[in-house]
């Protein structure tokens, strides 16, 4: 499912808002979540999961093309931990043969 398919799926399940409004809402939600994570804030959605940042230590890397050593600084990477309901439902899908 892509973002535009998600927008269509949401629009099909509610009566008040136009597709355009749902599209704007979905983009706003994604932007809000990206903004929170880039500001170092966690996201906690009960039944879905939580997003947080994991720190990666600085390390010495190599340029695969030239073989030169490069110093890589420490950085943060986004991490997602699925919540209980999501974990269970995905497994139901497996048991249902999907």
């Amino acid at each position: 499912m892509t973002k535009s398919e998600l927008i269509e799926a949401i629009a099909a399940r509610q009566a008040q808002l136009s597709l355009k409004d749902v599209e704007l809402a979905v983009k706003t939600i994604i932007e809000h979540m990206s903004e929170a994570l880039s500001g170092g804030e966690r996201i906690e959605i009960r039944g879905f999961g939580s997003f947080s940042l994991h720190y990666r230590e600085p390390r010495r890397g190599r340029n695969p093309k030239t073989g030169d050593t490069v110093e890589l600084t420490g950085k943060y990477v986004p991490h997602f931990k699925p919540g209980k309901e999501l974990r269970e439902r995905v497994n139901l899908g497996l048991q249902a043969g999907l």
């Binding site: 973002k3 509610q14 990206s34 804030e41 943060y76 497994n91």
Partner: protein, 101 residues
């Protein structure tokens, strides 16, 4: 540190887009519900600019009860993994925060 929750996400839809509070709450619920439903149906979800929710099937493997040492197999399962997109990774990398997460 506080975390972003559904109610704050809905609040922003109310403030920025002028959805009424009930609509805003419903859209936020549907957003996460439709992603769960797709994943439950074994379909990955790709949100460009944010990241992909992928599915991985794990076969049964031997496990152990850490308390008793008894051997019990860990059943076959399907798990969700999140791969952040380039844009999100780049934005997060710029965060030079000192607060450990």
């Amino acid at each position: 540190m506080t975390a972003l929750t559904k109610s704050e996400i809905a609040e922003r839809l109310f403030e920025e887009l002028g959805l009424n509070k009930r609509e805003a709450k419903e859209i936020v619920e549907l957003f996460f519900e439709e992603i769960r439903a797709s994943l439950e149906g074994n379909e990955q979800v790709k949100l460009s600019g944010f990241g992909n929710f992928d599915l991985r099937d794990k076969s049964q493997r031997p496990g152990r009860n850490p308390k008793t040492g008894e051997e019990i197999p860990i059943s076959a399962r399907r798990v969700v993994t999140f791969r952040p997109g380039q844009k999100l990774k780049a934005r997060v990398e710029e965060y030079a925060g000192t607060e450990s997460q």
